[in-house]
């Protein structure tokens, strides 16, 4: 079984909408592999080219640079092609059509190539080696060779499905695999243990980041059935992070499993004194006088590898802990939330903060808590289900984030833009306007909230009413009415209306409304005044 066959299997996985069929196809492939290749294939399927902690760190510029070197196509043509395709790996594969030597590619050879590229000292070396790989193998294999580098195969294959396929291929239950993966957080290592039938020996490893558990957004409290089943916390507007600490060593990981340790020395100092080894989930916050500062303040710290003393004094950062992942060599995600919370409180080092949490008593309390959270400068609320476990990488029903719509407006679409990825050829991003007499003035832009089916229909309608085109953007006649919700209004020079909606999202397509029935600029002005409070 080769990388070529992996690429072919991935094509079939992409072609089937059935979850079970995806898993079965993949398991059929993985089941034929020996240990080393099972580990490699699992790594590739989860978007990791290199063994261990190493990152390939090749950006789109390098991937394109190698394509220019390999094919001679100019950057303008490549950009245009990418715009139509919406995926770097696929674009590169298509542009290599009948230009390669079509050599067979083994899973091991792919790893050697990745390592070779990784070992290139200068950027030009890495690009030259990458170009060599492009020209060596079948275009379909190169497509996936590149997709692995970009970290996302984009074939409708979440890690959960790969997990199930590894389970099926090695004769385990999905539950056994998942449990082990919760401890380790790296599926390739779990696959190795599964192959050796040593899943029971898999232990949590500190200093290896675990996938974060995610919260599902809800707009309104009535989405919760039984208030008494929930715990409530503030939702912070900081940097979601894990701190791993033990024996004087501290590592901080942010979303995307990036290590950001050196940017936050004061947090390291706090955790360096941790008496037992711990890994905690929480939020890095710029914090002064008992409250979190605006995220834009915190951003100044994020880009820095080394932090000056001035900046440390100006933007002090704390770690607001809210969950426990490891304790003293044991993984804790399988413990119920109350127990994790109890252990977290007891092992929190001095200088770190514990996110206040309390039981929810009634639906009405969601409203009052939300207002208070906002008054404290936080973004909203998190509701966490009593008795729930920590589910790494999952956006399920056990954590909910309450983001409140500040108000809604009926608006009309004035421009539409092509989306990305699987929405690449559809018009999925809409600029919208309110009415001011006979004029329509833009107030924002949104892309989420509609189903693929609705977007497909709208794409047809909007193409038909387009009157001008600039690159990806089409100006359309103001005909399609949407209802949008948003978190606030601010003054903005970006739009002609002079206002911009914050975090607008599409609530529904109002096919029952005409453009002359939408909200007016006066209405927006009134909402803005009201928001000043």
């Amino acid at each position: 079984m080769t990388f070529d066959q992996l690429a072919e299997t991935c094509e079939r996985v992409a072609a089937t909408p059935s979850r079970n069929r995806k898993v079965a196809l993949l398991a059929g492939y993985l089941g034929e592999l020996d240990e080393a290749n099972l580990v490699r294939a699992t790594r590739y399927l989860t978007g990791q080219p290199l063994p261990g902690e190493r990152k390939l760190s090749l950006g789109h510029a390098a991937l394109r640079g190698a394509l220019i070197e390999a094919t001679g196509w100019d950057l303008e043509t490549i950009r245009l092609c990418y715009r139509e395709v919406g995926d770097t790996g696929e674009t590169i594969g298509l542009l290599l059509h009948s230009a390669t030597r079509n050599l067979p590619l083994a899973l091991e050879q792919a790893e050697q190539d990745y390592l070779q590229i990784f070992a290139g000292r200068k950027s030009a070396d890495r690009i030259a080696r990458l170009a060599e790989a492009y020209l060596s193998y079948r275009p379909l294999s190169v497509k996936y060779f590149v997709k692995v580098i970009t970290g996302n195969l984009r074939i409708g294959l979440q890690e959960r499905l790969v997990e199930e396929a590894v389970a099926m291929a090695t004769g385990h239950t999905a539950g056994q695999l998942r449990e082990a993966n919760h401890k380790v957080g790296r599926l390739a290592d779990v696959a190795r243990a599964a192959f050796r039938r040593e899943l029971d020996q898999v232990a949590a490893r500190i200093f290896h980041p675990m996938e974060f558990m995610l919260a599902k957004p809800i707009e309104q409290a009535p989405a919760i059935e039984d208030p008494a089943a929930w715990l409530v916390e503030d939702k912070y507007d900081g940097i979601r992070s894990q701190v791993h600490a033990g024996e004087g060593i501290v590592k901080i990981f942010s979303r995307g499993m990036e290590e950001v340790t050196s940017a936050f020395p004061e947090v390291c100092a706090v955790f360096a004194k941790a008496p037992v080894a711990v890994a905690m989930d929480g939020e890095l916050l710029a914090f002064r006088d008992g409250r979190a500062l605006n995220f834009t303040v915190l951003q100044q710290r994020l880009q820095r590898k080394q932090v000056s003393n001035d900046l440390l004094a100006e933007v002090p950062v704390i770690f607001m802990a809210y969950d426990l992942l490891h304790l003293d060599g044991e993984a804790t995600p399988h413990l119920p939330i109350e127990q994790r919370r109890d252990l977290l409180a007891r092992h929190l080092p001095a200088g770190a903060m514990l996110s206040p949490q309390k039981p929810l008593n009634s639906l009405a309390e969601v409203d009052s808590e939300f207002e208070q959270a906002r008054a404290r400068g936080n973004e909203g609320l998190l509701l966490k289900k009593k008795g729930s476990i920590y589910e790494p990488g999952k956006r399920g029903n056990n954590w909910l984030k309450v983001k409140r719509v500040f108000a809604t407006l009926d608006v009309v679409i004035t421009a539409a833009e092509q989306g990305h990825g699987r929405r690449a050829t559809m018009l999925s991003d809409y600029t919208f306007a309110v009415r001011d007499g006979e004029r329509f003035l833009n107030v924002g832009k949104a892309y989420s909230g509609l189903t693929d089916d609705e977007i497909r229909q709208l794409t047809r309608i909007l193409r038909g009413s387009a009157y001008e085109k600039f690159g990806r953007v089409m100006l359309v006649k103001p005909e399609v009415v949407l209802e949008v919700g948003f978190d606030g209004i601010q003054k903005s020079p970006r739009h002609k209306s002079g206002f911009a909606l914050r975090f607008p999202r599409i609530l529904r397509w109002r096919q029952d409304k005409q453009p002359d029935e939408i909200d007016t600029l006066d209405g927006v002005r009134a909402l803005y005044t009201a928001s000043l409070g």
């Binding site: 992409a14 072609a15 100019d74 139509e84 995926d87 298509l94 009948s98």
Partner: protein
């Protein structure tokens, strides 16, 4: 000395003033050449229409004789020159759909070829393109980017049949979506001649006699109705999709040039992508341009600007003839 034929491009069509002839006009004119019978090329009621016989038959099905406008339809036979206002006009096969033709216009030994919509590789239904030597070429570029690579007709047939057979074997209904003229008949021909019971949409069914006159068989093909839609392959227009899905387990194949890109799966909401087209893919376009030996190339429809640039990089005198809003009309690609 300037060439004896000049060409004017406008959103209303292509016009040759010296011989007072419009090519695929989009407004009422006196004299028109229709390259093929798709509605974005053959529409309206010119007083005189030049086209191949099949194209004229297909055009008449859509634009029946009218008492208000008296029209003369003048059939051209492939390879047979006719005199026209001091020039010679010759139709040559374009492979795109049944009846599709290129027009070669010659005056004082100077030749202009207008391809209309064209496919270079042999089509499933239609006559394989003749590459015509010329001085100036007017060519389309629907798929004029190097990402478009299509299956040849043998492989396309295999994939169409495989999808239909596998889907029927799982007791689901294979559905092929297509515009009324061209692709639909090709798919129905492939399915029916392989013995797969097939129903086609009424809008496609009405063109079958013309395809049959051209020598393509459709054994057992019926016009779709709610009664004969079970255990058969269906070839229908995209608008019927929701209705069919509501009636049972359907799986949709998208046979199109756009199916060369994975995002067509979401865009067409298709289970199976079969990248086969009645247009030339990128390498066919390059081969066609090179084969004609044209000194000057004008590009219309599609990726005109980028293809013109790519051709200029290869030493051609090429320009985008119409600054069109790309893809606003997807045509009958």
């Amino acid at each position: 000395m300037p060439p004896p034929l000049s060409i004017r491009f406008s959103p209303e069509g292509i016009y040759l003033p010296e011989i007072d002839l419009w090519l695929d006009p989009r407004r009422p004119v006196a004299h028109a050449w229709f390259s093929h019978a798709h509605s974005d090329h053959a529409s309206g009621r010119p007083t005189l229409v030049l086209a191949t016989e099949r194209t004229l038959e297909l055009y008449r099905l859509r634009w029946p004789e009218s008492t208000d406008v008296v029209q003369t339809l003048e059939p051209l036979r492939f390879g047979v020159p006719v005199e026209w206002k001091g020039a010679t006009l010759t139709a040559w096969p374009a492979g795109h759909i049944v009846g599709a033709a290129q027009l070669c216009i010659e005056a004082d030994g100077y030749r202009v070829v207008y391809t209309g919509d064209i496919k270079l590789n042999p089509p499933i239904c239609g006559i394989t393109t003749t590459v015509v030597q010329c001085n100036r070429l007017i060519v389309e570029s629907t798929f004029g980017l190097p990402i478009y690579h299509f299956l040849d007709q043998t492989e396309a047939r295999r994939r169409i049949l495989q999808f239909a057979q596998e889907t029927l074997a799982e007791s689901a209904t294979p559905v092929f979506l297509g515009y009324p003229l061209g692709r639909g008949q090709e798919i129905a021909h492939v399915l029916a001649t392989a013995g797969i019971p097939t129903s086609v949409h009424g809008a496609m069914h009405k063109f079958l006699p013309i395809y049959e006159a051209e020598g393509y068989a459709f054994p057992g093909v019926e016009a779709y109705s709610a009664k004969n839609g079970r255990e058969r392959a269906l070839v229908v227009v995209p608008g019927m999709r929701d209705y069919l899905e509501a009636r049972g387990d359907v799986r949709v194949a998208y046979v199109s040039g756009w199916a060369a890109l994975a995002n067509a799966r979401t865009r067409a909401n298709a289970h199976e992508l079969i990248p086969y087209s009645d247009h030339a893919d990128f390498s066919e376009l390059l081969d066609l341009v090179a084969g004609t030996g044209a000194e000057q190339v004008d590009i219309v429809h599609g990726y005109a600007e980028p293809l013109a640039r790519i051709l200029r990089d290869r030493g051609y005198n090429a320009q985008a003839a119409i600054a069109q809003m790309e893809r606003l009309e997807e045509g009958e690609a």
